[in-house]
């Protein structure tokens, strides 16, 4: 069982907004689903076997990069070739 406060904390961890209006309904749905997940508590076993594919690597060869315009094309804001982002404190 998680409380509304804990749901807000998780929203903070995920950096996702939950409107205070939605919080109540969201929390009860959330708890229904978590209750359903409790069935996993009964699971017993050794866990994943060693993967059949391993050591998948590439050679150290340079390949062409995207042209700068392509990199900047989808960005909402740019300046002198840099991509503009909100300030970090």
């Amino acid at each position: 069982m998680v409380t509304e406060k804990e749901v807000q904390h998780i929203a903070g961890l995920a950096d996702i907004g939950i409107d205070t209006g939605e919080l109540g309904a969201f929390t009860s749905r959330f708890n229904e689903i978590l209750d359903y997940f409790d069935v996993l508590d009964r699971v017993q076993g050794e866990g994943p076997a060693s993967c059949d594919l391993s050591n998948v690597m590439r050679e150290d060869i340079v390949e062409p990069s995207l042209p700068q315009e392509e990199v900047l094309k989808n960005a909402a804001a740019q300046e002198d070739g840099f991509i503009k982002a909100p300030r970090v404190m």
């Binding site: 060693s50 998948v56 590439r58 990069s65 900047l72 991509i83």
Partner: protein, 484 residues
């Protein structure tokens, strides 16, 4: 204040860029430093939706070389994990790193301990991860602050080396870092001259108190500075009866201080889980096939045995790969004759002159330098003249004036020793004795400093072309003869 000692405990986490041609998970070139922003980027390192990483084998080979050289054990199965957090320079909002199954564990690095002798600093682990992009802060309070991001650096391969808290002083930390850097250079996996290629986080505590993490140290000198500041700060707190808070602080290089990073570092929950797009590594069997080159300690011992270098000179000369190679190139023509003078002149003079001019060893012409050492060794010029010639040679390189050979400089400045012209020298000695009666009297009264003064006056008149040892002997002789 019971239980608070004054012993300092330091551990380091060192991140070095591995010198591969392409990035860790894509084929973008790693040679981005001279190019414009966002010109070494592809869907993978830009983290475009739908892109997927492919691991660079060279990065793993390099990391394993380091692990073997540092006596670590390679894990049977190693894997990559995602470290999730949000920051504009982290374009996938997670860093692909290694968490609970790193490449290697254990190992050690030997350094010169504070108490003399070799000290072993143990390592916790070594792993591989990707570098994030680079953030530039812009704007001002009035027009609004914002950030500009360049993703050229995103995806550059990093090796992270974590030490146990075995160091006991900032000096030991600096030595550890220098030894580590040299080892990585010798292994051919790291270019220490690239700006920003090494970053250090330090953990420091006073015995009995909480541990403080200091981040954002980007230079070798910075490590010692940051730690010295921290120790002082922590000791001051304890002396005033206050507690040291367990926290993360940032080093501000320009001011030589650390600052609390409280606002940024709310308890981070990185929610690590194995990277589902990459396959695990089973590379323990590669270790046997790795052939290590001669490492700093071995080279140091060889310099002592093969060239008769002193321990100090050998330590200095092997402390950087380029320096060691330079030394061996200089003495190659005549090891027996040049080994000792070359060691002295490089370790005790050249390095200092280069640092003063902020010049790199690359700008020293090996042939010309060898020529200079030869002239000094043969006694053609005095040590003082030697320094003068060296400075002229370096300045010519620095200011790009066409370079002369040392012989040409000696001839032009007329610096050849006048040791053969004993007669003229005796005349100058007599002049100086006559001109400085007080100094002569001081000497007669047992003040040896006066002798140096008198010799110095002769040197002035001969513009340093006389050999001081020879001159000293002649002065003493002359003063004796003038007695009575």
């Amino acid at each position: 204040m019971t239980g608070t000692g004054t012993q300092v405990i330091v551990g380091l986490e060192v991140h070095c860029q591995l010198d591969t041609r392409s990035k860790l998970f894509c084929g973008c070139s790693t040679d981005y430093r001279n190019d414009g922003p966002n010109t070494h980027v592809c869907p993978v390192c830009l983290g475009l939706p739908g892109s997927m990483p492919v691991l660079n084998k060279k990065a793993i080979e390099y990391a394993m070389r380091v692990a073997k050289a540092l006596n670590c054990s390679i894990l049977h199965e190693s894997e990559f994990s995602r470290k999730n957090y949000f920051y504009p320079d982290l374009d996938k909002a997670y860093q692909v790193t290694q968490y609970d199954k790193p490449l290697a564990e254990g190992g050690y690095l030997e350094i010169e301990g504070d108490e003399g002798g070799e000290k072993r600093v143990r390592l916790t682990r070594i792993h591989v991860e990707e570098d994030p992009g680079r953030l530039v802060h812009m704007g001002n309070a009035e027009r609004g602050k914002y950030s500009l991001v360049d993703y050229n650096r995103a995806g550059i391969p990093l090796i992270e080396i974590v030490s146990e808290p075995d160091m006991r002083s900032p000096k030991e930390a600096r030595k550890f870092l220098n030894k580590l850097r040299a080892t990585l250079e010798y292994l051919g996996v790291f270019d220490s001259e690239k700006e920003g290629s090494i970053r250090v986080d330090a953990n420091i505590s006073i015995v009995g108190s909480e541990r403080v993490e200091v981040k954002n140290i980007t230079s070798y000198k910075g490590v010692e500075k940051a730690l010295n500041f921290e120790i002082t700060r922590q000791k001051n707190l304890l002396r005033r009866g206050l507690k040291v808070d367990r926290e993360t602080r940032h080093f501000v290089e320009a001011r030589g201080i650390t600052q609390s990073a409280r606002s940024k570092e709310q308890e981070h929950d990185y929610r690590y889980f194995p990277e589902p797009d990459l396959r695990p590594l089973h590379v323990r069997s590669w270790v046997a096939g790795i052939v290590l080159p001669e490492l700093p300690d071995a080279r140091r011992e060889r310099f002592i045995a093969q060239y008769g270098c002193s321990l100090n000179h050998a330590r200095t000369l092997t402390g950087e790969l380029k320096l060691a190679n330079f030394y061996e190139k200089v003495v190659a023509a005549d090891p027996k004759g040049l080994a000792t003078p070359a060691a002295t002149w490089i370790a005790d003079t050249l390095i200092g002159e280069l640092n003063y001019r902020d010049m790199s060893l690359d700008s020293v012409d090996t042939r010309n330098f060898t020529g200079l050492v030869r002239l000094l060794n043969e006694g053609t010029i005095t040590d003082k003249s030697g320094v003068e010639v060296l400075r002229v040679m370096l300045d010519q390189r620095h200011t790009k004036v066409p370079c002369e050979t040392p012989e040409e400089i000696v001839a032009r400045l007329n610096l050849a020793k006048t040791a053969g012209d004993g007669g003229a020298l005796l005349g100058i000695i007599s002049e100086v004795i006559a001109e400085n009666p007080k100094a002569v009297e001081d000497y007669r009264n047992g003040k040896n400093g006066a002798l140096n003064f008198l010799v110095g006056q002769v040197m002035k008149k001969t513009r340093g072309r006389s050999d001081p040892g020879e001159l000293n002997r002649m002065m003493v002789e002359s003063l004796k003869n003038k007695e009575g």
